[in-house]
Symmetry: C2
Subunit: 462 residues, 2 copies
Amino acid sequence: MARPTPLSGFPEWLPDGRIVEQHVLDTLRRVFELHGFGGIETRAVEPLDQLLRKGETSKEVYVLRRLQEEAGDADAAGRGDKQLGLHFDLTVPFARYVLENAGHLAFPFKRYQIQKVWRGERPQDGRFREFTQADIDVVGAGELPYHYEVELPLVMAEALGALRDIGVPEVRVLVNNRRVAEGFYRGLGIDAVDEVLRQIDKLDKVGPEKVAALLVSEAGTTPEQAQACLALAGISGSDTGVVDRVRALAAEHGVESELLETGLAELGALVEAASVRAPGAVVADLKIARGLDYYTGSVYETVLVGHEQLGSICSGGRYDTLASDGANTYPGVGLSIGVSRLVSRLLSAGLVRATRSVPSAVVVAVTSEETREQSDAVATALRSRGIPVEVAPAAAKFGKQIRYADRRGIPFVWFPGRVDEDGARTPDQVKDIRSGEQVDADATTWEPPAEDLLPRVVPAGG
Amino acid sequence: MARPTPLSGFPEWLPDGRIVEQHVLDTLRRVFELHGFGGIETRAVEPLDQLLRKGETSKEVYVLRRLQEEAGDADAAGRGDKQLGLHFDLTVPFARYVLENAGHLAFPFKRYQIQKVWRGERPQDGRFREFTQADIDVVGAGELPYHYEVELPLVMAEALGALRDIGVPEVRVLVNNRRVAEGFYRGLGIDAVDEVLRQIDKLDKVGPEKVAALLVSEAGTTPEQAQACLALAGISGSDTGVVDRVRALAAEHGVESELLETGLAELGALVEAASVRAPGAVVADLKIARGLDYYTGSVYETVLVGHEQLGSICSGGRYDTLASDGANTYPGVGLSIGVSRLVSRLLSAGLVRATRSVPSAVVVAVTSEETREQSDAVATALRSRGIPVEVAPAAAKFGKQIRYADRRGIPFVWFPGRVDEDGARTPDQVKDIRSGEQVDADATTWEPPAEDLLPRVVPAGG
């Protein structure tokens, strides 16, 4: 078999990269659980008709077929097996999970979900076909109070903030409120709200002049309306002064709208609460548009400060109808982190590193294959106190056994004492191979320094 | 949208079931890491030609196609994209990972891998189309010492043994050595070794009489050879007496074989080491056959004592050629746990339960929406000391807020003190809703009892 080459769009990490990714996932999970979010997993597949309900993503779906399946065979047709596709996000499967299990869930239901998703698109720079997402959502049965729209972005800000220790840059959550935009546009006399938002969404890419022209040509606005939309999109700030500026702009254009007022009250409450609970982490940014056929209230994007060109690494919003059955409609609010993109960036930019590539803190040397049992016993004693240990692969010269540890970044090598003819055993010794210091040690009591116990993930300079 | 129904073969758990599964996964990971195994993940897909190298599994593969893909389109043909399928185990992708990254890995390379796998077969009772496997393997470059064949099943026995606290039954690792069987068969004058093993593998299903007939009709043995094969398969035991019995049987049939002697020395060493390090956990069982076109030394199966009818929940063995490129051959030894099958059994048999369905140990009550900020501050103080907390969804009557906690199994409800007109605040109180006991508490110092901090997984009777 020739040496295989990577598949474009399907990222994999070497063991030390996986330590970084695992640390990110463990950190996110810990913060989500501290806030009471329970973990669930859903199957990787959904019936194709469910995946295609959002028309725009249909081109991205990977469809499954059994290798031996034949057109019209009993399994695919007669027994009514549905065509299956891999999920392309965690929202569609979550909506299905909520409907399927509604009778067994307690609402409001807070869940996190960390799983792979797949998109069958052509891989481009930074575009993955398989990647890990980490989502949090709160879903109510029938109703969901506004305060969750404040809480959720703050949980995400805290989760991402918990990664600053390892060198993840500061994050900034950019928030907007769909009601503000829609209320303002309608107040201006614009009906094609979705189309305006689609054009506004291009601001960072094509600039205000092009967007102004597109608003006229594509959304049918007047040049004056277009300028007002751009003026709204230009407003941002991290205090309630933002609300005042939007009100002033509305007054200037004679806009009066209940919807706008509702949205501004919500946006103001969010910015105010955030300034108390996570100062500087949340900024109101009126140009944030998102795919707004879906969201109905707050919308969120998140950038790494100083790496804004990466785009949003964590997005989401409020939706009034996550799912609906005969009995209930389920409104929710949630955000999703693109973990693979984040980890890929941390690794490729050399921002973080693992202190070693294996869990082991200690290699127990083997004096001879006949006394391997003695080394195994040392390893067992150390492990019983939570210290990750491996035993050397062969009773080679100690220099070679030390190199085995060194190559993996394992800081300590343990030398079992020698047993003489009378059965007396000289003391065991442990060597810190970084400093060369070697001391007597007892496997039932010795501990490595806390910072050496497990591989740590640290800023690459550290 | 009508209420969706589960897809047969694609298991999903409710939140409390997921807590059980997560506990199992965390426990396995902890034990693997204590033994120095590093975690990796591989992509879910492999090129179809790689997946089909093992002919017998080909019928089980799920093949992917992009929804918009057309026969002969530029993407599939012109640009040379390979056809992709979902992996059906973690061994094929691991072999490819080793070859692809050999230059960046340190050998012997010890890794664990916990991921979903997919098999496109018709679901039957207990057969999943999507399930989680947890694998450990050690792979050498060119060579791999025998002692890893002793170590690996003991790591698995320890990992599964660490689950006994939560009600997982005792496990027994059944071991055999392919060299023993092959040496014995060849010594008898049988050449069709693989065919004999295939028939012996049916012993538990169809019984010895049927197998004797099949050995004659399918493997071309004489009735006497068939009886000798059955006699070998009938030997089992947890000490080196097993080796003596095999030797006696060989002598009885005039079998002399170097391969047999090598195999017996290895099997004896494994049983002996196991009796020291994990008494009772490992039993030599000469009827264990496995898919032996692949394994070349030790083979393993693992049963839950008292639930043997479930079949093997953890299997594996030694293989001389995991993979091979121009420069090196990579021998290895590994085992794989079927986690979904284990968890499914634990849940459906009611053997284990989670003490609650959410992470939260505390619900902070909300006196009025105007003072929600005060409840948020209490939650923040508790979380800063690692206590999972949520704030009540609405400022409902306290009875309703207590029911919110009760329905989720959350043990404590926190009542922020009331602030009077002068700004003085009565002490906060915390209520254990199981006992009804309510005491003054300070959010900067209070802690729940250790056993209430996180949801625990316990035997269902506990």
